[in-house]
């Protein structure tokens, strides 16, 4: 069914190959949060790793800063259908953090938590991918609070709601459970190339 009078734009072949199904190219960086933006001091920030309600390890900004960082440029896909090309990030891969803390991964799933109470679930395998970062710079500058700063999770291969803003905890869990948006009907995994928007 064609919509009379609609022609669209941003529609060349290169864009088509880089755009997952149902996405459109956005040049701005929209803010999408369900809750008010918290005010977090970098020096107060901590990230905890836990299993069965017991804290396995914690890391703060000073220790994070001592681990080798990664810079990457990735296309980001939001479930609300915008895609932004070539977003540049710096952070430390979760893989490297876990190595440096000498942690053994106890389960196949994690629940990511933010200081606002926001949660989202991930397979541990995805958490440990090379490009899953605890990110603190966007376009070479500190990440601003409304975009999840000072520190957010970045899971570039999944829809952007998985990249929890203001990340503060990673809890290993034995069985997959829905987080905040997953409870409100979003997909448990969220692969943009398979268009896993809603469950």
């Amino acid at each position: 069914m064609v919509t009379r009078g609609f022609f669209g734009k941003g529609n060349d072949d290169l864009d088509k190959k880089r755009l997952p199904p149902g996405q459109y190219l956005e040049n701005r960086f929209p803010v999408l949060s369900a809750e008010p933006t918290p005010d977090i001091n970098l020096l107060d920030w901590k990230l905890s790793f836990s299993y069965n309600n017991e804290i396995m390890a914690e890391i703060d900004w000073n220790s994070l800063n001592k681990i080798k960082s990664t810079e990457l440029t990735k296309d980001i896909h939001c479930v609300t259908r915008w895609t932004k090309f070539d977003m540049n990030w710096r952070g430390v891969s979760v893989q490297n953090i876990i190595k440096s803390l000498d942690l053994e991964v106890p389960s196949d799933w994690v629940m990511i938590g933010a200081s606002t109470g926001y949660t989202t679930n991930l397979p541990t395998e995805d958490l440990l991918r090379e490009f899953t970062l605890i990110a603190y710079e966007y376009e070479k500058k500190p990440i601003t609070p409304e975009h999840g700063g000072p520190i957010r999770l970045l899971v570039p291969h999944l829809y952007f709601w998985k990249s929890a803003k203001w990340v503060s905890s990673i809890s290993f869990i034995d069985e997959d459970k829905p987080g905040f948006w997953e409870n409100y009907g979003y997909h448990m995994y969220g692969d943009p190339w398979k268009e896993q928007r809603y469950s």
Partner: protein, 233 residues
């Protein structure tokens, strides 16, 4: 695609001012929605290029049609289609109602709704739903650049002798305007009983929502604050 889309036709188009228009879509097989929910609109070009955008539903729940409030964005491929080109009878696709978070299924507590510009859309649906439980109130604050942007002003003023509608104009203030003026600030909420409200819905641009959050967190501590945002225009 794991999503069902309904066939829809534009059944009315009302130009509100130089930026806003209200589009009514008759949707085949529509089964209603919960106030606060949104739909994804899908437009298809002749070469099969498709554009999808989310829009809040502004109409009262019913099983025939939905209304969406369009703010024309100069480079926006979907909003310029609706505002400049669309006409009655045009066909497009509409998703099922979406969103389980920024919603008001029943009213069993007093709530505040705070809108910036076209952020009034989800609240239009909540207010038109005319909840049967009269014990509780919806209190609406709406900030708009100009008078025409105060969508449904006449209806809302008539309905709300109890003063739970607070319109504000920030830029083009008419001569005889006796209601609120100026940008959002803490004074706007001074008259309200601070203990009464349990949930606060805020909808508007990123900048607007950020500003309101700051003020509301101070004025109404420990309340549930729900945000719905669209990008800065």
């Amino acid at each position: 695609m794991n999503q069902h889309f309904f066939k829809a036709k534009i059944s009315s188009k009302k130009i509100i001012n130089a930026e806003l228009c209200l589009i009514r879509l008759s949707v085949d097989g529509w089964k209603g929605h919960i106030p606060g929910q949104y739909v994804e609109i899908c437009l298809t070009a002749q070469n099969d290029y498709k554009a999808y955008r989310p829009y809040s539903i502004a109409s009262k729940p019913n099983n025939k049609y939905i209304e969406i409030l369009i703010e024309r964005i100069p480079e926006g491929e979907v909003s310029t289609y609706f505002y400049d080109i669309s006409d009655i009878g045009d066909e497009l696709l509409v998703s099922k109602p979406l969103g389980q978070f920024f919603i008001l299924p029943i009213i069993d507590k007093d709530v505040i709704l705070i809108a910036g510009g076209s952020g009034i859309a989800p609240f239009m649906s909540m207010i038109k739903n005319r909840y049967s439980n009269k014990k509780f109130q919806l209190t609406l604050f709406h900030w708009s650049k100009n008078f025409s942007g105060l969508v449904d002003y006449d209806v809302l003023i008539k309905q709300n002798e109890k003063r739970n509608y607070y319109p504000y104009i920030t830029q083009e203030i008419p001569d005889k305007w006796s209601k609120g003026t100026g940008r959002i600030n803490i004074k706007a909420f001074e008259k309200l009983n601070k203990n009464l409200y349990h949930k606060i819905f805020i909808c508007g641009s990123d900048t607007f929502v950020e500003n309101v959050n700051g003020i509301i967190k101070e004025t109404f501590p420990h309340r549930e604050i729900l945000n719905e945002r669209f990008g800065d225009v």
